[in-house]
Amino acid sequence: MLKIKNLHASIEDKEILKGIDLEINAGEVHAIMGPNGSGKSTLSSIIAGREEFDQTQGEIIFEDTEISEMDPDERAHRGIFLSFQYPVEIPGVSVTNFIRTAINAHRNANGQENMPANEMLKKIREKSEMLGIDRKFLSRSLNEGFSGGEKKRNEIFQMAMLDPKLSILDETDSGLDIDALKTVADGVNSLKSKDKSVLLITHYQRLLNYIVPDFVHVMVDGKIVKSGGKDLAKELDERGYEWIKTEKAV
């Protein structure tokens, strides 16, 4: 589904990604872990198409198409979704209005008419119930005055509504208490299927107790330095990142 080859990226001439190779197949859950400043969030942003970063080398191939030159909305239409670490507040635009705008943008891009209102309502009800979201919440302004947990849950709600092929969750666990974390993880798990993939970006192993990855990659200083199964996450949690840096140096 996603193939990243020798990806280099920089911002204002400072190189942040220094040659990333990553392959994610349909149905797989991958986790990228690493210390602060290792470039994890940059990687997720660049897959989603953030323009501030300069992709200097390498390829990003999504379903056999090179997408490096595509705008973020076009990537979204192809099925890439990024759940933000810090979702942006949009006063005056309700969650419902926002998701409706997003869904119709997807449909229009694929040559479809706007979704009929009753179908939209039905889908909104179904997904909000699944995630335990109160109806009142949906008429509030997007992310405005939301708690950390509400913001993250709202991201997963949008993900459920847009039904992406590849979901990238950037530090979705940060700032969540254990109950909120469970709800979010349940939401993600319920959306998993054999033709959908998930890329988790996280600093801690905690989230991986609830969303179990097939592969774990460790990123240090703009490179993936170690890959393994889910046990690698536990090892990292116990031993920290220093031993990997040392191992790599040796």
């Binding site: 942003s45 949009i90 943008a105």
Partner: protein
């Protein structure tokens, strides 16, 4: 003959046709034309008109007296009214009152015509007390006063809550060549009374139209006045709006100005606080493009202690459009414990758009809280990326962000139908679709 000379020489003809019986008013008007002759139109050398030149709108050869009666059908004008709710309507076509499109009242409140108020004895005390009492003597006000003939006369009697909002709508039709109109409104709200006013100037022609409107508002003790100005005129119409509000103790007045259209719009809005514990609120959204020009010139004069004023103006400027904000707050020496807030935030969407923002605080009291802030910026890139990552194309994403930027000004609008209407107008201008509610 330039426009000023044309106006001065037309005054005699105006006087001859004038059928009014009120001698006091005749004297006021004669004095006013003399003042206009001396002062003339404001030029660019005047500090208050440094960034707004009236030259381009004064060069037209305007018709001063519309010939014949122009009529309109309700179905043609319905969309310009807030028709979803029950209102009193004062409709004027080319400066002439249209009885079949209006609904007036004399039941506990007077919502009727200036022309009848200045000619009937029963209104004389109100006219004598309030007419032309607070409009400062300058070229534009004097010109309007000299030609006072028609407009809205609203008097809310003591202890009365107007049962519905009052709409004042001025239409210009295409039946004349270019047209100059000067509505004159007087609004007197007695003690413990309340009214809501919606005002709109709408040209229905591609011919140039210039409006020089003067409105005087008096809010007595504990009165509440909410005033909404919807400015979404077509590109051949220009407006100079002069609104003056005098407030007595514990009154609350708010003016919301939505400037979304027109060629050149100048809003002169002055508040004079004459008592204690008064609240004056001014809010505005400006959203223009092309070569449009919108100027907000505000003044709040705090003369007594323990009062508040709030100003919040948001502007979005595209293409070569020009915005001006000049907000003056004046606090007299005895006016202690004043809270005066002023903010003016702007987004420039094009390199060639301009905003001139100038806060002016003159404070002579020593125990006051005054704040002012002005920002000029572009849209937040992080927010833009967030929306785009959800599949929303850049153009629409920008529209949504601009909508969000301007939106909080609408929170204090008390009539939901106005909020909806403005939301719709803004969304349409920004090319986004909203209005889907669970």
């Amino acid at each position: 003959m330039d426009f000023k000379e044309k106006l001065v020489s037309s005054f005699l003809a105006f006087e001859e046709e004038y059928t009014g019986s009120n001698d006091d008013l005749r004297n006021i008007r004669s004095q006013a034309i003399k003042d206009f002759e001396t002062i003339g139109f404001p030029g660019k050398k005047e500090e208050a008109y440094k960034y707004t030149s009236l030259k381009s709108v004064l060069k037209e050869d305007y018709n001063i007296f519309p010939k014949g009666e122009n009529s309109l059908e309700y179905r043609d004008i319905q969309k310009y009214l807030i028709h979803e709710i029950d209102t009193y309507d004062l409709v004027f076509i080319d400066g002439v009152y249209s009885s079949h499109l209006s609904s007036t009242t004399h039941d506990k409140i007077d919502a009727c015509l200036m022309s009848s108020a200045i000619n009937k004895d029963q209104y004389k005390p109100v006219i004598d007390n309030y007419f032309n009492k607070i409009a400062p003597k300058n070229g534009l006000n004097s010109l309007n006063t000299a030609f006072t003939k028609e407009g809205a006369f609203i008097h809310i009697h003591k202890n009365t809550m107007a049962d519905k909002p009052i709409q004042i709508i001025n239409f210009s039709t295409g039946n004349e060549s270019s047209l100059f109109v000067q509505p004159r409104n007087l609004i007197v709200v007695d003690e413990n009374s309340h009214c809501q006013i919606i005002e709109r100037h709408q040209s229905l022609t591609e011919q140039p139209v210039l409006t020089n409107s003067v409105t005087e508002v008096f809010a007595d003790k504990r009165a509440i006045v909410d005033y909404y100005k919807i400015q979404n005129d077509n590109l051949s119409a220009s407006l100079i709006d002069n609104t003056f509000i005098e407030q007595q103790s514990e009154s609350f007045c708010s003016v919301h100005t939505f400037s979304l259209g027109g060629k050149l719009t100048r809003n002169n809005l002055n508040f004079y606080q004459k008592g204690e514990r008064i609240d004056s609120t001014m809010k505005g959204i400006t959203l223009i493009e092309g070569k449009q020009h919108v100027d907000h010139n505000t003044l709040v004069h705090h003369t007594q202690p323990n009062c508040e004023s709030h100003q919040d103006y948001k502007g979005i400027f595209d293409d070569k459009s020009v915005g001006v904000f000049n907000g003056k707050v004046y606090v007299d020496k005895i006016a202690q414990k004043i809270n005066a807030y002023q903010s003016n935030n702007n987004v420039l969407l094009s390199d060639r758009a301009t905003i001139n923002s100038k806060p002016q605080l003159e404070i002579f009291a020593d125990d006051v809280k005054c704040s002012h802030g002005c920002t000029i910026g572009q849209l937040d890139e992080e927010a833009l990326f967030y929306l785009e990552s959800r599949g929303i194309p850049k153009k629409e994403a920008r529209g949504l962000l601009m909508y969000a930027f301007a939106n909080n000004v609408l929170e204090s609008v008390k009539i939901p139908e106005i909020k909806k209407r403005i939301n719709k107008l803004i969304a349409k201008k920004l090319g986004i679709e909203l209005g889907f509610h669970l």
